[in-house]
């Protein structure tokens, strides 16, 4: 299964003073089981792009094919697509509304018209995946901490059993602990459930650690696409787009400038640590 985006263009408020081209001829293919990172500066079109994928907005021009079928062809198709492609918006905790955590997560599967048993099964497994224990099931979602709320909201999307999961800035506004919990849950989903995950973020550290492929968006267009190693080797270009490489890359750059032979493709803290330890050993310095 794959998502094929062909020449997608989206213009907000066409023919008025508020006219804005959010997406400009975007073509992209996302394959099954991929962990894709979508990065870009505020206003680069990331959010608009992912809202198209789930059929919440329609393209001005172009098309999106899911397994060869246009997802915007009719309402029925769009509904089916919404089940297959789960989308957790930015600050998803603002969509919580039910009296208990359990009921809120059950909202999605109930809308799908599943049986009681199936709903229960989905809800329990979704909450388990994001690490919410049974003791919280009957609590009000508004009584939870920020990180818990967000995980419950993401579980609300997972409970619909999507094949593809899209997360828009899932770690925005969370403390480091909340962030790590969310990212661990997402990583788990990709690894153990084999879900195709699209992670929208502007935190280079998050993206560097997790994804297989990075797509960089700039002014509504795809500026770069490749493995983290490939993308992060273009530091200057990223900076021109108002983005930055992971902080570790800057440490590496500085070390290289001082004459240490650090390869170009090191971009996570653990990689650099290994590299430095190895270099120290070679020089005969014991730990």
């Amino acid at each position: 299964m794959s998502i094929q985006i062909n020449h997608l263009t989206h213009i907000y408020n066409p023919d008025t003073a508020f006219q804005k081209v959010a997406l400009d001829d975007v073509t992209l293919e996302i394959t099954r089981g991929e962990f894709l990172g979508l990065i870009g500066h505020t206003g680069s079109g990331k959010s608009t792009l992912i809202q198209h994928l789930n059929g919440t907005i329609s393209p001005t021009k172009g098309e999106i094919l899911l397994d060869g079928e246009n997802i915007h062809q009719n309402k029925l198709k769009t509904k089916e697509v919404r089940r297959k492609i789960g989308l957790a918006f930015q600050y998803p905790e603002y969509q919580l509304f039910e009296i208990t955590v359990y009921q809120d997560v059950a909202f999605g599967p109930t809308n799908l018209g599943l049986s009681k048993e199936e709903i229960h099964e989905n809800v329990v497994s979704a909450l388990e995946m994001v690490g919410i224990g049974t003791e919280l099931y009957e609590k009000s979602p508004f009584a939870l901490s920020g990180g818990q709320k967000r995980r419950v909201a993401i579980a609300g999307v997972l409970a619909m059993n999507p094949e593809i999961l899209i997360l828009d800035e899932p770690t925005a506004g969370l403390d480091p602990k909340g962030r790590d919990e969310i990212l661990a849950a997402i990583k788990n989903l990709h690894k153990e459930r084999g879900l195709t995950v699209i992670l929208v973020s502007h935190s280079m550290e998050d993206v560097a650690k997790l994804v297989d492929r990075i797509v960089v968006m700039h002014s509504g267009q795809i500026a770069m696409s490749g493995t983290p190693k490939e993308v992060f080797s273009h530091v200057e270009e990223l900076e021109q787009m108002g983005l930055a490489a992971p902080q570790v890359s800057y440490v590496c750059k500085e070390l290289r400038r001082k004459g240490y032979a650090i390869p170009e493709d090191v971009y996570t803290v653990s990689e650099l640590k290994e590299m430095l330890l190895q270099m120290l050993q070679e020089k005969g310095v014991s730990q």
């Binding site: 023919d15 003073a17 603002y94 969509q95 919580l96 509304f97 909202f107 799908l112 999307v157």
Partner: protein
Amino acid sequence: MIRDITIGQFYPVDSLVHKMDARAKLALTMMYIITLFFIKSFVGYGFVLLVLCAIIKLSHVPLKFMLKGIRSIMVIIVFTALINLFLTKGEHVLWEFGILHLTIEGIVLATQMCVRLVMLIMGSSVLTLTTTPIQLTDAIEALLRPLKKIGVPAHEIAMMMTIALRFIPTLLDETDKIMKAQQARGADFETGNLMQRAKSLIPILVPLFISAFRRAEELANAMEARCYHGDENRTRMNQMHMKQMDWIAVCLCVIYTGVIVALRFLPVV
């Protein structure tokens, strides 16, 4: 769909109407609304329509954008029309069924009511589309100031309105976002009977209220942190000045009102 509501939305282009003093604009709009209710004949409506079109042309706001505002109150217009159409008593009865009757007088009245409502909305849209909410409330405060002597809290009223207007687009955007998020979870707002549709609003309204309260609290804190304490000794960054253009507009408005009054009382038309 939800973004079509244009009330309180400023349309940023440059025009004579945009440059006018907000106080003059507000007073003129009020005059315009009063005269609308003063008209009896279709000639009168024709005249107002002409004036309105001229102003819209001057304002450089696309007509399409103004008509959007009408779409959102279409229900009220249709409702008013139907009531007037079928419940007005008159001499020339065309059709009758129980308490419903269609008369020539009814048709005339219904048409007039609709025209009046449409013009009312269009006229006030011109004001809100060409005046930023801040200017608008400053104008309200200025016009209410004389009433302060009898204890009307002019500044507080203006501040409340500023805040309310400021948050209309924010809350609309928020509603849009929440709707999309719930749709992503399979919520359906478009089908089902009245009961189901009413129920389907809960997942939107609960988060919306929560976010409105959260925003209110944040704003209150932010205002307090900046030592806001109301009207006393407050100065303004933007002082309002009546320019020559504004006085011309006021004169034109006087002439316009004269014509309306004349059309009403002169037997010729």
